[in-house]
């Protein structure tokens, strides 16, 4: 009988040290199950972003093992990193869009790197832009959109290639209350379709009335 690991993300005794004095994470062990929606919280500088960066190989751990969707990141070669990144959609507080590209072109980037046919790219990009409610602005340049709209484009880009995991690093940090709620609704929808979500935020209001699991970091240590 084959054993199927329910954990899609697993960290074992993971530490990250930038310099002798700067210990960003210390012996973090945690598991996130497939389809789970987990909040990662803590004050600024607690290590939330570092932990997320470790999960898409923007940083490598100093110690410990990390597994993401069956891939052992401690033995991952540089040429395998693109494969990992196609499994992990990342959303940032500052959106990281190309200002001079249109909404369509920004989202299409994620599919172009996969080498999909033009017709497939066209269809999937249009579908996802419709889903995030921006089909009327598909030909606008990213710089011409509001903050909330830009974040919806960033979400569309992160999910258009249907990754099993979404990492969101303070995605509502630059948005007002209404736009924040729109983003949260989009994330809930994605999770309802089976996508695993790790949502880093220092805004406690986002999860105070939720049944979701909350992982709390403080000074690089996991405290709950």
């Amino acid at each position: 009988m084959t054993y199927i690991d329910p954990a899609i993300v697993k960290l074992t005794e993971v530490s990250k040290r930038y310099t002798v004095e700067n210990l960003a994470l210390y012996k973090i062990s945690l598991e996130v199950k497939k389809g789970e929606f987990v909040f990662l919280t803590g004050p600024s500088g607690s290590g939330k972003s570092t932990l997320l960066k470790l999960l898409f190989c923007a940083e490598r751990p100093t110690e410990g093992d990390i597994r993401v969707d069956g891939m052992d990141l401690s033995t991952l070669s540089p040429s395998q990193v693109p494969t990992l990144r196609r499994k992990v959609g990342v959303i940032f507080q500052d959106f990281k869009l190309l200002d001079q590209y249109t909404v369509f072109d920004n989202v299409a980037l994620s599919l172009e790197v996969l080498g999909l046919k033009k017709s497939q790219v066209e269809k999937r990009v249009r579908d996802i832009i419709t889903n995030v409610g921006l089909i009327g602005k598909i030909d606008r340049k990213a710089i011409q959109l509001s903050g909330g709209e830009q974040q919806r484009v960033a979400i569309a880009r992160a999910v258009v290639n249907r990754p099993p995991i979404i990492l969101a690093d303070e995605p509502t940090g630059n948005l007002d209350r209404d736009r924040t709620m729109e983003v949260m609704e989009l994330m809930e929808e994605l999770n309802a379709r089976g996508t695993t979500i790790i949502f880093a935020t220092h805004d406690e209001k986002l999860f105070e009335h939720t049944h979701r699991r909350v992982l709390r970091l403080d000074n690089g240590r996991l405290i709950r």
């Binding site: 898409f56 190989c57 040429s79 990193v81 693109p82 990144r85 790197v113 999909l116 880009r157």
Partner: protein, 294 residues
């Protein structure tokens, strides 16, 4: 499909950074232009030396005691040597007559001189198809060993001097060519570095969405190939136009009737074009390395 996207991205980038691309291509063109002119000069100089050598031929002076009956067999022996195109015999009397006609009004200086005082000789032309300076030397050395021969002349001093000069020119061309190629590579490397700095955000996003190094570097390499190709084609085109212009000028002037210019043969042109593309691609690959580290 990936190749199509890379090509599309390269074209988009060429349009977006048109001025930078044009400037880089111009620098490549100038470097390749200088290199092609040097190569053209060197090639024509060598051609000139060879032409001159083949025209000089070999003069074999016979000993005065060689009997007249031996001349036909000597003629046959010389004609049988490899690479001989024509052999002309000049008897002592013929040589005397030639000297008289050369002296023209001053021929009275020859009054009372024995008409046989000049040695008989053979003038030999080497076949142009097998011509080379070494072959002339070999033939001359062999002839000078014959017992009937007193002296062999083939303008060796001229040929040696021109050969040395031609050798120095070739070395200078290779040296200057290398320097120019390094300059072109340096400029291309730095232009691509500036472009990649300007596009750092885009490259970062591409990496984030799972682009491979090939996907990221591909458009830059395509652009470099284009710059190398365009630069070298422009350079060889300018040199060809200059060659045609000089040819037409020289054909009108009686002074240059004996000299012919030649254009670089295809292997030279292909080497210049291939070298230009290679230098641009290598320069780009070097400058991209830093951006492709994960």
């Amino acid at each position: 499909m990936i190749a199509g996207i890379i090509y599309k991205r390269a074209i988009a980038d060429l349009k977006q950074n048109f001025t930078t691309q044009v400037m880089t291509t111009l620098v490549v063109t100038l470097s390749m232009l200088l290199l092609t002119f040097f190569a053209m000069f060197s090639f024509n100089f060598r051609h000139f030396v060879e032409e001159l050598g083949s025209k000089l031929g070999i003069v074999v002076y016979l000993k005065k005691d060689v009997p007249q009956e031996a001349i036909p067999s000597l003629y046959k022996r010389i004609s049988a040597l490899r690479g001989i195109e024509a052999v002309n015999y000049t008897s002592s009397e013929d040589a005397f007559r030639k000297l008289e006609s050369y002296l023209d009004r001053e021929k009275q200086v020859l009054e009372g001189v024995d008409a046989n005082f000049l040695p008989p000789s053979f003038e030999i032309q080497i076949n142009r198809a097998v011509f080379n300076i070494d072959r002339i030397r070999e033939v001359a050395a062999e002839l000078s060993r014959w017992k009937e021969v007193s002296k062999v002349q083939y303008g060796e001093e001229w040929i040696d001097r021109l050969e040395v000069f031609s050798g120095i020119t070739e070395k200078a061309v290779v040296g200057a060519g290398l320097l120019l190629l390094i300059t072109a590579a340096f400029v291309v490397t730095n232009t691509i570095k500036l472009t990649t700095y300007a596009k750092q955000e885009e490259l970062e996003i591409l990496r984030l969405v799972g682009a491979t190094n090939g996907f990221i570097a591909g458009p830059f390499l395509v652009e470099a190939m284009f710059q190398g190709l365009a630069g070298s084609l422009l350079a060889t085109g300018i040199v060809f136009a200059t060659y045609n212009y000089l040819q037409s000028l020289m054909s009108q002037h009686p002074l240059f009737k004996q000299v012919s210019l030649v254009f670089l043969p295809m292997p030279y042109l292909l080497t210049i074009i291939g070298g230009s593309i290679l230098v641009c691609v290598a320069g780009t690959a070097v400058s991209m390395r830093r951006f492709l580290r994960l």
